[in-house]
């Protein structure tokens, strides 16, 4: 039957194509080739024989986009799958290189690695054999870009606990791109508690499942102290929080009906007895094209 | 744009009032 082969996938534009970092499911980070929706993937599949020959039932390359839910590892939900046959069943007697191309490929969602779900894109080469197939995958990362929102209203709200604490908070936008700056202020209307400090947290909420099986995983991405000490009525505290310092993804709502990733700003006031008073507000994050 | 938002000026009575 032959001793098998090594498979290598080489993109035509490997030398010039940008790479981007993404977390792997074991928490490490890796750099992968970066693609956008509509871009083509072209390259070559190099099959290097280990022995003198290799009998096979066919060689193909697939472009796959899939969602993996960690609690359901066996089931992968492929939302996009393109196949190209590289070789019909036969016998390889020498190492061979096959060109491939996938033109103007639709990539509707951004790559994502989360606590309970992963969305990935990859090229997969399969050499089908009688017993065990030889498979090689090459992961890619996809970013989804948005245009600047036409309407981007500020968030301004008054909240409080009667006779205790009233504030008016304002954030300059409701939609922020990933390198944006949250500019805001907190105005104190009534202060009758001993505040120790105030912070703004960025919370990521990953939602998987649906209906009664909905599961939310919250992660505090950032805690940013915006005030030290106790203000009195009439005090106005400025906020300036640079998002580029944090690992964020765009907001993802109901991706392929499988999961969502949303972001919240959590304004937290902590008093002298460590009691926490908070107000959470959803914001939309989006990815802006680089200049 | 990172410019601060405009803020209301605190009255002097509030500024120097004892914490409530």
């Amino acid at each position: 039957l032959g001793q098998g082969a090594d498979i290598d996938i080489a993109l035509d534009d490997a030398a010039t194509r940008k790479q981007a970092e993404i977390k792997t499911d074991d928490g490490r980070k890796e750099k992968l080739y970066l693609f956008y929706d509509g871009e083509s993937l072209t390259g070559r599949v190099n099959v290097t024989l280990k022995g003198k020959k290799l009998e096979h039932q066919g060689i193909r390359i697939e472009f796959v986009g899939q969602i993996e839910l960690y609690y359901d590892r066996g089931n992968h939900h492929e939302f996009t799958s393109l196949v190209k046959e590289l070789a019909r069943p036969g016998e390889l007697t020498q190492s061979t290189s096959y060109p491939f191309e996938f033109l103007n490929v639709e990539k509707p969602y951004e790559s994502y690695t989360g606590a309970n779900v992963r969305l990935r894109y990859f090229l997969r080469v399969t050499i089908t054999k009688r017993l065990t197939d030889t498979v090689r995958e090459m992961d890619l990362v996809v970013h989804t870009l948005s245009h600047y929102p036409e309407v981007n209203s500020s968030i301004k709200m008054e909240v409080g606990i009667e006779d205790c604490l009233h504030i008016e908070f304002e954030y300059n936008k409701s939609k922020y791109h990933l390198k944006d700056v949250i500019v805001g202020k907190i105005y104190f209307l009534l202060v009758r508690i001993k505040i120790k400090h105030m912070e703004l947290a960025i919370i990521k909420r990953e939602t998987t499942g649906s209906g009664p099986n909905t599961f939310n995983e919250n992660e505090t991405i950032a805690k940013y102290e915006i005030m030290d000490g106790a203000p009195v009525r009439g005090e106005s505290i400025p906020i300036r929080l640079f998002l580029s310092g944090y690992e964020l993804t765009p907001t993802m709502r109901d991706v392929n009906k499988k999961f969502s990733v949303r972001y919240y700003l959590n304004l937290v006031l902590v008093d002298e007895e460590e009691r926490r008073y908070f107000k959470q507000q959803e914001v939309t994050l989006w990815r802006k094209a680089d200049k | 744009d990172t410019s601060r938002l405009d803020s209301k000026r605190q009255t002097l009575d509030d500024a120097y009032a004892a914490p409530a």
Partner: protein
């Protein structure tokens, strides 16, 4: 406290060493991280103000090294991208703002950005530190760093808005805002902690007064500030803060600070405003000392050879006389001896600045008598505080004129003497007679002799 301070200083020392090592190797991010760790010690709530001050001074010394490193880099042409943004990534506000001020100053010195915008941004962003002690020192750091870099010209010297340097108005606004915020924090300190520790807190607050006063010093160092600007833009704002804060320590200190740091020429033109404010100060404030300090200052100014003296159109005595009357009226619980002390200072002013104006002395005596009549006082006990002050008042013209005949011209002198008891009147009489004998002045007319004998009636009768 000693142990806590020592531990904190040790951390500062270690982090500063690592910061310098990182910067020497060109590792800016590491250096900033070390600096941030070092500045983290200034987040402490455990140190007394004195201890915090010592820690703060150590940290400032080390920050100068960072500032110099960054400035050298800019001056060599090594632009550090987005440094102002970079330091704002720091998660804790106290280290973040110290770093921001340090970088802001580097930007100003290296002309990297609009000086005016940076100054405004720094003084506003410091609002985030509302803790009184930490806020005071942070703003003091801001003031010290900007000390030689505040714009001091009528017009902005830059055409480019991106590197706008600002002008004197921007400097005044900057310092006044910083002053207002610092005074607010300083006054708020009295409310921190348990009421049983109030006295200890007031003592600690007193030790920190110079942090607030430095703002006024900085204002006085601006060369472009003339008397008009002082009158319109500076003094009203400062006085508004001082009066509104309603805090005894703050008011006493700041009013005296105003007198000390600003030139006498400014005081001459703003006397009414200043003295009116004295009437509105907290009842516990020793207004007498403030007014006397101002009078003494101006009296000294009048006597100096190197100045033009008091302008002839400025009726200094009238202004003081009127305003002091207003203050006495407004402050109904002012001790009587303080009222008399104010009259003493008025007489001193009259004698120093208007030697020929015997009528001014008489006016003071008339006012004193009127006050005593209103208060229905009589026969003040010899060793009482009021009597002592009154005797001081009565002796001044004697010592100043050394001429009993001039003393006779004071029509209200005898009236005031009558308010003393027998012992007091006897003492004053003896004082007058001894002065006359010492000066050996002949009394030319019988009428004058009669007047003298009436003056010293307690001895005669």
């Amino acid at each position: 406290q000693e142990k806590l301070l020592e531990e904190a200083q040790q951390v500062v020392k270690v982090q500063a060493f690592q910061m310098k090592r990182s910067l020497d190797k060109g590792k800016l991010m590491d250096g900033l991280k070390n600096a941030s760790n070092m500045l983290g010690e200034l987040r402490t709530s455990l140190l007394s103000p004195k201890g915090y001050y010592e820690l703060y001074m150590s940290v400032c010394d080390e920050l100068r090294h960072l500032e110099q490193y960054l400035l050298d880099e800019y001056q060599k042409g090594h632009k550090i991208a987005d440094l102002y943004e970079l330091v704002q990534y720091a998660g804790n506000i106290v280290p973040r703002l110290y770093l921001l001020i340090t970088v802001g100053i580097v930007y100003i010195k290296a002309h990297q950005s609009s000086r005016k915008d940076i100054m405004k941004d720094l003084v506003e962003m410091c609002r985030g530190v509302q803790h009184p002690l930490r806020g005071l020192f942070l703003r003091n750091y801001l003031l010290q760093c900007t000390r030689n870099y505040l714009p001091d010209t009528e017009k902005d010297e830059s055409d480019n808005p991106e590197t706008a340097g600002g002008n004197i108005e921007d400097s005044i606004d900057f310092i006044l805002l910083n002053f207002a915020e610092m005074n607010k924090l300083w006054v708020r300190m009295q409310h921190q902690g348990h009421s049983r520790d109030w006295e200890k807190r007031e003592k600690e607050r007193n030790e920190l007064r110079i942090l607030v006063g430095t703002n006024l010093v900085r204002l006085s160092q601006l060369e472009t500030v003339d008397v008009e600007r002082y009158k319109k833009d500076i003094l009203p704002e400062v006085i508004e803060q001082v009066v509104s804060c309603r805090d005894t320590i703050a008011q006493e200190y700041l009013m005296e600070c105003i007198i000390q740091v600003f030139p006498d020429e400014f005081h001459l033109q703003t006397l009414s405003m200043f003295l009116k404010a004295c009437a509105d100060l907290n009842t516990a404030v020793n207004v007498k000392n403030i007014i006397i300090a101002m009078i003494d200052r101006l009296a000294l100014f009048a006597c100096r050879d190197d100045t033009a003296g008091i302008p002839s159109d400025l009726k200094l005595f009238d202004i003081f006389s009127l305003q002091i009357a207003g203050i006495i009226e407004a402050r109904s619980d002012m001790p009587t001896e303080d009222i008399v002390a104010l009259q003493v200072s008025l007489i001193n002013l009259a004698l120093k600045c208007y030697q020929d104006r015997v009528d001014y002395i008489d006016k003071v005596l008339e006012t004193t008598a009127a006050i005593f009549e209103k208060l229905k006082l009589e026969h003040l006990k010899y060793n009482s505080a009021v009597a002592k002050e009154l005797q001081r008042l009565l002796k001044i013209p004697v010592d100043s004129y050394n001429n009993i005949l001039t003393l006779l011209k004071l029509q209200h002198y005898v009236r005031v003497v009558e308010y003393l008891d027998y012992e007091g009147r006897k003492t004053i009489s003896a004082y007058i007679i001894n002065n006359a004998i010492d000066n050996n002045l002949p009394v030319p007319s019988q009428e004058q002799v009669d007047q003298i004998l009436t003056l010293v009636a307690p001895l005669v009768k």
